[in-house]
């Protein structure tokens, strides 16, 4: 299935949000997932089915205080 994950087009095997995270070697507890601009609840990761062309964003916390120019 073709997905856009964090801005990159990828061929993915995972059929659910949880399977995708496992495929990408990401610990589900530490991240938040958005599919087509909709936030997916952690408890729904297992059952949330992905579809061809879905736009997936996987985020986590990084160091940062305030906005600053990069």
């Amino acid at each position: 299935m073709r997905l856009k994950v964090n801005g990159e087009d990828r061929e993915c095997k995972g059929k659910t949000a949880l399977e995708l995270l496992k495929e990408l070697d990401i610990v589900p507890e530490r991240v938040a997932v958005e599919v087509n601009l909709k936030v997916i609840k952690k408890t729904d990761f297992e059952n949330y089915r992905l579809h061809d062309g879905d736009n997936v964003e996987i985020v986590y916390f990084v160091g940062g205080g305030n906005s600053y120019l990069s």
Binding site: V5, N6, G7, E8, L24, D25, I26, V27, E29, R30, V31, A32, V33, E34, L37, V39, I40, K41, K42, E57, I58, V59, Y60, F61, V62, G63, G64, G65, N66, S67, Y68, L69
Partner: protein, 256 residues
């Protein structure tokens, strides 16, 4: 009597809140936080690097059980983006708190207060504990309070500028009218700036660059910890009135 900061039922152990950006590595970040005595640690929300999975996780170094994680919307320029980042942050599962930034200008990083007010209102209704980063404008501070902000975070000076509290009189006016805690966010450059904010009566101070960009960040974190405590104690003690002329503090009587 104990002098504790409590916001929306959450008890805060320290009045120094600290940012986690611009450090050498996660280890230094952790040591700085430890030295600062802070229990609120603000973090940004960003994409996971999916191609390099070896990169470490900040939360491996900052235990969410030990510290209160305060996600922020740093880098957001629109209401939509700020809402999106806030909702993702909450779903990460560490906190309902959000340090809300809606930036209006790239050069000064001053907030877009119209967008900020809108986003504060929406997020407060969604049950977030909202800490909006705003100007040192007493009218806007009041508007944010009325929109449901849990505390208001006026800047002391532009983010990362280290210019200190540029308009203490505005901060004073904000404090006089406020019914929610006031936390200075941004602008502090050194320990005396933090003390000034606290002496004015602010409830806490949030900083990042002042510590991260110091020659010795860990030593500066320690200095900030003491400055915030000293400033708060001085505020509670009530300073003497300022006078233009000298007043002798030793008796004239008994002089030769």
């Amino acid at each position: 009597m104990e002098d504790k900061l409590i916001i929306k039922g959450i008890e805060f152990k320290s009045r120094l809140w600290i940012g986690t950006g611009k450090y050498k590595d996660f280890e230094e970040t952790a040591r700085v936080i430890e030295a600062s005595g802070a229990d609120v640690v603000t973090v940004a929300v960003r994409r996971v690097n999916i191609t390099d999975r070896k990169s470490e996780n900040l939360l491996d170094y900052i235990d969410p059980k030990k510290y209160k994680i305060l996600p922020n919307t740093a880098g957001c320029y629109t209401v939509e983006d700020a809402l999106r980042y806030s909702r993702l942050a909450r779903e990460s599962g560490v906190s309902d708190m959000i340090k809300l930034e809606v930036i209006g200008d790239e050069k000064t990083l001053f907030p877009d207060v119209i967008g900020l007010l809108k986003a504060t209102e929406i997020l407060a209704k969604e049950g977030f504990i909202v800490f909006p980063y705003t100007n040192d404008d007493p009218v806007m501070a009041k508007r944010l309070e009325n929109a449901g902000a849990a505390a208001v975070m006026p800047l002391g000076a532009p983010i990362g500028s280290g210019l200190g509290i540029r308009n203490p009189y505005n901060i004073k006016i904000i404090l006089e009218a406020a019914k929610v805690p006031i936390i200075v966010d941004a602008g502090v450059g050194t320990a005396s700036d933090a003390a000034v904010a606290m002496e004015l009566g602010c409830d806490a101070v949030l900083m990042n660059t002042a510590v991260a960009a110091a020659k010795d960040p860990i030593a500066m974190a320690n200095a900030m910890k003491h400055a915030v405590i000293a400033g708060r104690l001085a505020y509670k003690a009530g300073r003497m009135p300022k006078r233009l002329y000298a007043t002798a503090s030793s008796p004239i009587e008994g002089m030769l």
